[in-house]
């Protein structure tokens, strides 16, 4: 038996966990679900010895412990695979797996032949065949994950936490990961998936514990839960997923016209058009080219042939600047590195794209006008902050995404491209963000949503393009857009 019994933990005055109990037995496949800030990470940190609980016990096999050090946690078989895998990119697969055993055995010398043998054995245990001599940076993400699992196994893992394990994987790679997890199950390893993206995890997990605000709100066999029940337990809100897409006025003009664009190795012969007030969804598996198409429309990936025109005028997409001046806005996938100036104030972030419209004589910035505009956006988009001069880091994921949205809406683009607009955003905020997008469409903005979140696409899009191997493989409209039809197209 592994887990916790009545664990509580507070940081300063804020309670991160209160009286949390969860148990798994060897061979279990468990899912620990909760939104950002629900206490999932704190719980992992306690189990891996990084944080000490204020009260309650940690259960590790026969032992009942009040606290744990990271070293003890590893010695007792607790391992966490973080999203970055904690591998050494320039060392070989063999060394990444075997060096930790060398370290445990306090060896002064390393023997490549022995390391290869140790690594091969560990990979064999999970039924995986990898090039032992390849450097870790040259192998795909899915293989890196397998290397991390093999390393954990080598260190005698009994309880394995996997943090957002499926986020960066394609469907095929997820299947592969699941078969590895099943082979761990046969070896008596308990695996805990920590996730807020439940569609895939639901497939493999046998039981689930759901956290909200540091409290367990639901637990039990996963078969007892449908998606609605899970999202209710996660958010406390009865969020119904209704179609939000408004009617498109039939007589509006085409705003974005994309004809036959290609980029070698990324996408080919992609054509579509978007009318004012229309919301076009583009979906596809990871690596299908959907992301590259989105970036190309904002000038971040070179278009080698074909034409893009906005309001009938062909434009040369040489880079983001030319896209912006043609009236294209882009909400990127990775808001932390591409969408926000994290250490700058919310105010400056909101104004970053529209600053040229607030320049007075001699290029000075008109401060007062900016303040008024920012305050309007903060109210309109319900950005939860008591002061727009606080840095963007002070906001939660959902609110940060609203700032990114505000930044682009402030420049009033005629076309807005959103790449994964609600990735890492909690369910409550997600609904509100989708509503903002819908309202902008009603005002006549042409919108392109690129996403692999099928329920989201179904909720918001008028029309959906499915991308497969860089080409548009299907186009669905209105009533034909259902979750099952989209999943079918994706699997085709």
């Amino acid at each position: 038996m592994f887990g916790t019994d009545g664990i509580s933990k507070a940081f300063g005055g804020a309670k991160a966990l209160s009286n949390v109990s969860f148990q798994v037995t060897p061979g279990d496949i468990h899912c620990l679900a909760g939104e950002n800030g629900s206490g999932k990470s704190t719980l992992i940190k306690i189990m891996s010895g990084v944080e000490t609980p204020d009260s309650g016990t940690i259960i590790l096999g026969e032992e009942r412990l009040k606290s744990l050090t990271p070293r003890e946690a590893v010695a007792k078989g607790v391992q966490v695979i973080f999203q970055d895998f904690s591998l050494i990119p320039n060392l070989s697969v063999a060394e990444n797996i075997a060096l930790s055993t060398d370290l445990l055995e306090k060896r002064k010398f390393v023997n490549p032949a022995r390391n290869r043998e140790v690594a091969a054995k560990a990979l064999d245990l999970i039924g995986v065949d990898l090039d032992l001599d390849a450097t870790v940076q040259s192998i795909p993400v899915s293989s890196k994950q397998l290397v991390a699992i093999a390393r954990a196994l080598n260190q005698g893992v009994k309880l394995l936490f996997m943090d957002e394990a499926t986020t960066a994987l394609t469907r095929k790679e997820i299947d592969q990961l699941f078969s590895v997890v099943r082979s761990l199950k046969e070896k008596g390893v308990a695996t805990v998936f920590v996730s807020h993206k439940l569609d895939e995890v639901q497939e493999i997990a046998e039981s689930i514990t759901i956290l909200r605000n540091g409290v367990v709100t639901a637990e039990g066999p996963i078969a007892d839960f449908d998606r609605k029940a899970i999202s209710l337990a996660m958010t406390g809100l009865d969020v119904t997923e209704v179609r939000l897409a408004p009617e498109v006025p039939s007589d509006t003009a085409t705003v974005l016209e994309v004809s036959n664009i290609s980029s070698k190795g990324r996408f080919k012969n992609v054509s579509f058009s978007v009318k004012a007030g229309e919301i076009l969804g583009i979906t596809g598996l990871l690596g299908s080219g959907r992301n590259e198409i989105a970036e190309a429309l904002f000038g971040m990936t070179a278009i080698e042939s074909g034409e893009v025109s906005v309001k009938g005028t062909p434009i040369a997409l040489k880079g983001p600047r030319s896209a912006v001046s043609a009236g294209i806005g882009y909400v990127p996938q990775d808001r932390l590195t591409q969408g926000l100036f994290l250490n700058q104030s919310i105010r400056r972030n909101v104004m970053a794209s529209a600053i040229e419209r607030f320049l007075g004589a001699a290029g000075f910035i008109k401060g007062a006008e900016i303040n008024d505009t920012v305050n309007t956006w903060v109210t309109d988009l319900k950005i939860k902050t008591d002061n727009p001069d606080n840095p963007a880091t002070s906001l939660s994921g959902g609110n940060q995404q609203r700032v990114v949205l505000a930044k682009w809406l402030a420049m009033s683009p005629s076309v807005l491209i959103l790449n994964g607009p609600t990735v890492g955003v909690d369910i409550g905020s997600k609904r509100e963000i989708l509503e903002i997008i819908r309202d902008k469409a009603l005002e006549g903005m042409a919108i392109v949503i690129v996403s692999d979140d099928i329920p989201e696409i179904v909720q918001i899009a008028h029309r959906v393009l499915v991308v497969h191997q860089g080409e548009v493989s299907a186009e669905l409209t209105d009533t034909a857009i259902t979750e099952s039809s989209l999943y079918k197209e994706l699997a085709a």
Partner: protein, 348 residues
């Protein structure tokens, strides 16, 4: 059961830098031919012997720098550490009347002085976590000032006997057709042994692998249970000792101890190590590549005049080589990053 075919068959390609080493060998060969056809004096057994002699000390410094670069840092204090340790050793020996034929006394003494100076770098970098460039820039100034104010600023022509004698210790000397004596210095053997030892240390010891791991991803190395701070501290002490040895041998070969010597040589050593394939970002680098890099730089430096290029262009040429080395790394990185975005999904 086999689930995965590796994305890349480029086995350990970057790890051993072999294409880069082959490129360096070709560059050295082509350049030699060009110089030789311009000036036939070049085609003589004396040329490789002279090239080696002028490269040996630089190889010692370069091997030290290689270790630092692989760990993801940079050290620009090694020339001053070298001359500080060498000059101080000479001063100590002369003051104590140790004007002996022994070679071990000056070598050990210089290594100790070098290690002490290196531990100052170690304290700043591993202890206080300062950025390596800034820390070693600061110590460069400190060490130089300390050397000139407290130890001496005068040129010493009469160095201890052992060091003086060693300068003419030849392994081979051949009478060439043109009547000059082609001499290969005996130092070539200890330098070769040291190079092999460092290569072994980098590849086969936990210390060496930890250095690579820190250069690859410091946080991951820490999470793997490696002692990152202690490894860094050892790196800078080791490099200090190595620089000290290089410094005293430099004084021996020059047959004089001048505290103003070696200043500015960091440019060509860094250029050589980077051309040798060591990544300026850390994590990659080989001993073979480093030695080839030093040889190439010295070949260019020593023979610009034979090619009809004024000697004043020497530093410009070396600076250019450094930029070429860094640029080729940047281009390779960019190409690798580009490859990663290519659609890998196969038909299923």
């Amino acid at each position: 059961m086999s689930y995965i075919t590796p994305l890349s068959k480029r086995k350990g390609l970057q790890l051993f830098g072999s294409p880069n080493e082959i490129f360096l060998i070709i560059a050295i060969a082509v350049l030699s031919l060009v110089i030789g056809f311009t000036n036939s004096v070049f085609f003589s057994i004396a040329t490789p012997f002279d090239l080696l002699r002028s490269s040996l000390i630089e190889i010692l410094f370069a091997l030290g720098l290689l270790i630092v670069l692989v760990s993801g840092g940079i050290d620009i204090s090694f020339p001053i550490v070298g001359i500080f340790a060498g000059y101080t050793t000479v001063v100590i020996m002369l003051n104590l009347g140790l004007d002996t034929y022994s070679l071990w006394i000056p070598l050990v003494l210089a290594a100790i002085v070098g290690a002490i100076l290196g531990s100052v770098n170690a304290l700043l970098i591993a202890g206080f976590g300062l950025p390596t460039l800034i820390a070693t820039l600061g110590t460069t100034g400190m060490f130089r000032g300390f050397l000139l104010s407290y130890i001496g600023s005068v040129y010493i022509a009469n160095i201890p006997l052992g060091l003086d004698e060693f300068s003419t210790a030849d392994l081979i000397s051949i009478q060439t057709g043109s009547g000059t004596l082609a001499r290969l210095h005996v130092l070539v053997i200890p330098v070769l042994i040291l190079a092999i030892a460092i290569a072994f240390m980098m590849r086969r010891t936990m210390f060496g692998r930890t250095i690579f791991a820190i250069g690859g991803n410091e946080e991951s190395a820490r999470r793997m249970g490696m002692n990152v701070r202690w490894t860094k501290a050892r790196i800078y002490m080791l490099v200090g000792a190595l620089s000290g040895v290089a410094g005293i041998l430099y004084i021996s070969l020059q047959r004089k101890a001048d505290p103003y010597d070696l200043a500015g040589t960091e440019l060509e050593i860094i250029a050589a190590v980077v051309l040798g394939g060591a990544s300026i970002m850390g994590g990659y680098g080989t001993v073979t590549g480093t030695i080839l890099g030093v040889l190439l730089i010295n070949l260019i430096k020593d023979n610009l005049i034979l090619l009809g290029i004024p000697g004043s262009w020497q530093r410009a040429a070396i600076g250019l080589m450094l930029l070429i080395g860094v640029m080729s790394q940047a281009i390779a990185d960019k190409r690798r990053a580009k490859q990663a975005t290519v659609i890998e999904e196969d038909a299923s």
